[in-house]
Point group: C2
């Protein structure tokens, strides 16, 4: 078994990702790459992991963890410590390629059961040992770093069971360390689906979804994770919070909601009850449209979501640059049909794709699709069938695997996202475009994928050649400028990635001092000794 940095940085860690030939063609053209660039891996990360930072745990502390969870459930080797301190934020991957692991935990502990976890948290609180709860490690916000050392508390190894599928209440109760695919598989067996499919679905857990306040591809219909949670059990240094399963209440403000978006700073979510939905994939209705312009696509999306005739579950616009790239990577560019489209005024650099899927009852999905088709105005858009959206859904998890080979080519590749009200959406979109386009040789794909009556998100995927030898600073400056641009134009700090340590510096400016002090006060109540994911997460000190 190899214990290299590359093993840690790979998306999903099982296979080497590949870039498809049509994408290669695009980036070769756009970034002036030569064939020789494809021969070697830039900053390959193939070196063996060696940490400089020694564990600061005392021998008796390590012994406590081993005697509590069992030797086989406590790792303190360099590779494990490095691996558990990293998510999938671009700067983290870059660090790994540069053989840097700035903030490893002292050990990784995987309790076998709830009682062990409880003991461990109590002990860590006594001993002032930091605890970083770890799920699937798909964080893109630096939320897993352990700048003050401590233990990475891994919930995925043992605390990963379904406790109850309640067919009467349409809810599922799970241990928080369960991965998306296992949950979904078991639900499907009972005729249900969780309806939560983030891009990280394969490599993320229910606890992570809740802690980071995630959203999945069907969120326009099913909501974000905060719309699905019914009850939580959370182990905090100040005690265990266990809330009851009610659809809604009026018994003070909702305590369980404090933990949705808490990013490990308050306690460890050990158990969650979620709403579930009927699994009837044959009923799903699909539709794809091409619009003459992004502005027209956005206006249609807004009209559809505000019409009150039922909502699509998946609802997505690709902006012109993303649309053009989709045409190219699908080999559609310059095909006969493409030429026809151009003839009708659907021009590259202008046209925008809309993808739709409606789930639920069979008649309902038909009904909503028909209404949407009638809402879309002839002359500004064309219905282009079911297959484009279905094809996109089939390959949607694969795009994340392309990032590693892109970085192998020396290409920076990251994402940012925000949410904004309708009245400011085009402004934020245009400002972000202007900002990114100032950098030479960039690809910027923007899409909208989570839609509400009062606004929608904007999701930015950008590619650009790294500034060789100055990769870290170059990225940091570029990234900061984009976050600033979004902020200045009225976007939120995040819609569903979370804050972590990456966006922490913006928190006070964005929320205001008063709100930051509320976060601090709640933190202090649950975690008076500051052991829970300490060192900057959420902008907390």
């Amino acid at each position: 078994m190899e214990y290299t940095y590359r093993q840690i940085l790979k998306w999903g860690d099982k296979r080497e990702g590949k870039i498809d030939p049509l994408t290669i063609k695009i980036i070769k053209e756009k970034f002036d790459l030569k064939d020789s660039d494809f021969e070697t891996k830039y900053l390959s990360g193939l070196q063996l992991v060696r940490l400089e930072k020694r564990s600061s745990l005392k021998p008796e502390q390590l012994d406590f963890f081993k005697s509590t969870a069992g030797n086989e459930n406590v790792q303190s080797d360099d590779f494990s410590r490095a691996k558990y301190s990293c998510g999938k934020f671009y700067a983290e991957l870059l660090d790994l390629r540069l053989n840097l692991v700035p903030d490893p935990p002292d050990a990784v502990v995987s309790p076998k059961c709830y009682d062990e976890l409880l003991k461990i948290v109590e002990y860590c609180n006594q001993e002032r040992i930091p605890v970083i709860p770890v799920g699937g490690q798909s964080s893109v916000t630096g939320a897993l770093k352990a700048p003050l050392g401590g233990i990475a508390l891994d919930l995925t190894k043992h605390l990963n069971k379904i406790e109850k599928i309640n067919t009467e209440n349409k809810t599922v109760t799970v241990q928080a360390g369960i991965y998306g695919p296992l949950l979904e598989e078991e639900l499907i067996r009972h005729g249900f689906t969780c309806g939560h499919f983030p891009q990280s679905f394969e490599h993320s857990t229910v606890g992570g979804w809740i802690a980071a306040k995630g959203a999945g591809v069907a969120s326009t219909g099913y909501g974000k994770i905060e719309d699905m949670v019914v009850a939580l059990k959370v182990v905090t240094p100040a005690g265990v919070i266990e809330t009851k399963e009610y659809p809604r209440t009026a018994q003070g403000w909702d305590i369980f909601r404090l933990f949705i978006g808490s990013e490990g700073t308050l306690g460890i979510i050990t158990e969650a009850t979620l709403n579930i939905h009927n699994y009837r994939p044959k009923n799903t209705g699909y539709a794809s449209f091409i619009f003459k312009s992004f502005e027209q696509a956005v206006a249609a999306m807004q009209k559809i979501i505000q019409s009150e005739y039922g909502k699509p579950h998946l609802f997505r616009i690709s902006d012109p640059e993303e649309t053009d790239i989709a045409f190219k990577t699908n080999g559609f560019d310059n095909s006969f049909s493409d030429k026809l489209l151009k003839g009708f005024g659907y021009l590259p650099g202008k046209r925008s794709l809309i993808f739709i899927a409606v789930e639920g009852d069979k008649d309902f999905t038909k009904f909503v699709l028909n209404k949407i088709k009638k809402t879309v105005r002839k002359g500004e858009a064309m219905y282009i069938g079911k297959s484009p959206v279905k094809k996109w859904l089939d390959q949607r998890y694969s795009s994340a695997y392309m990032r590693d080979p892109l970085m192998d080519l020396g290409i920076m590749s990251d994402t940012l996202e925000t949410v904004v009200t309708w009245e400011k959406l085009l402004k934020v979109w245009a400002a972000a475009r202007t900002y990114v386009n100032k950098r030479p040789k960039t690809i910027l794909m923007i899409h909208i994928s989570h839609v509400y009556e009062s606004g929608a998100n904007l999701y930015f995927t950008f590619l650009s050649p790294m500034e060789k030898g100055n990769e870290k600073n170059d990225f940091a400056a570029f990234h900061k400028g984009l976050v600033d641009t979004i902020q200045e134009n009225g976007g939120s700090l995040s819609h569903h990635h979370g804050v972590g340590r990456v966006l922490a510096p913006w928190m006070e400016g964005h929320l205001g001092k008063q709100s930051m002090s509320v976060l601090g006060a709640v933190k202090k109540h649950f975690d008076p000794n500051n052991i829970m994911n300490p060192g900057g997460t959420l902008g907390l000190q």
Copy 2:
């Protein structure tokens, strides 16, 4: 102008309520009333209000309020102090009829603008003067009592404007003291509706809806108030919290949600932004059904809400006793049609009404109604047209006005409510029935009116002759037993009335010590000197 206790206790305070003749017939029979009982008013409350408790404000404090808000906006007479300390909880009304005002504030202050309010809160915090925010005074939880004195801070007199109707984002921003009807009138003028119609609609404010976490008659479609709030501005002793208008975010847990259900204990909600909906009453689809049994009606409701073909906005079941009373008060009992119904097996004591209204797009309302009609199984239910639900909607605000004349007859009349998952719903319903029926001469009407995929509320309206001379203790013991029964069988403490001081004694037992200490910690952060609605609200000390 009269300044009597009756003036305070009357629902809506403008007119004397009347009991319709058919209801009189029922209560005469059920409670063995004689004609002579109708000649005088029992505990009429017609005496002039006189308070024993003197104001504890120092003259310079009163002067401060007067110089800040203006003489005309500060009242310290007995009548005003009494009036502003009362909501519409039965025990409060009984107190008024007994000429008791146990917990009046020292003065009523109605700031003319936000800046005055801010100054007043700062001053009260310095001087340790309790502040009780007051909206429409329709509280049924004793939330307006001022056991420690202080000022009733009235938002309805001046802080009652619409600030912006944002047609782009489909949101409205209002000052919190605005009453339901004024908000709705203005929205309708712009083609929108707020979609929030609690029973107290005529006499409650947006701030009160949010502080008490209310729900309206169309909540199954539009959600509770917590599903409508997008952003809040709140003045707390620790500073002003102002959140931004985003449909959803992932920037830590949602701070504005702390104030939804805070019942005045953390600060004063001064401004709120809410989602609004298209106002298209001509599109609304109505349907009424009669089921052979409550159990069958509940099963159908559960099936409909879990079918994922679009939800009704109004969705209501009357249990058999409520159904029978509805038949009688509508003169339908023993009509030709009623005899036919009985012939088909829809028997008194068993049969249950379901009322439905679907709002939104015209095709959507038709579609959903058709689906519902197909879901309801022939043989167990009969469609009985649109008019029963329309008729019920037309008179729905009037029933609250009947409580005063009922109390004039010496009849105890109050409501309680809970929410429960589907698997426990019939159990809670049956246990509450058993408990209430142990008391001789009771009418207990139970309905379900807020429906979710995982459960629904239960709403209890009970009538019973007062135990003359022992009215207060009799009610307190009866009420306690019913709350206990609901709790023991798995119901929540409240679905939409809130907790106030009435349900406060159950809070710790229901939420647990850990959760209670969280409420306390947040309270301490915002209100370190315990001036915000102090003295037991929400079970806080």
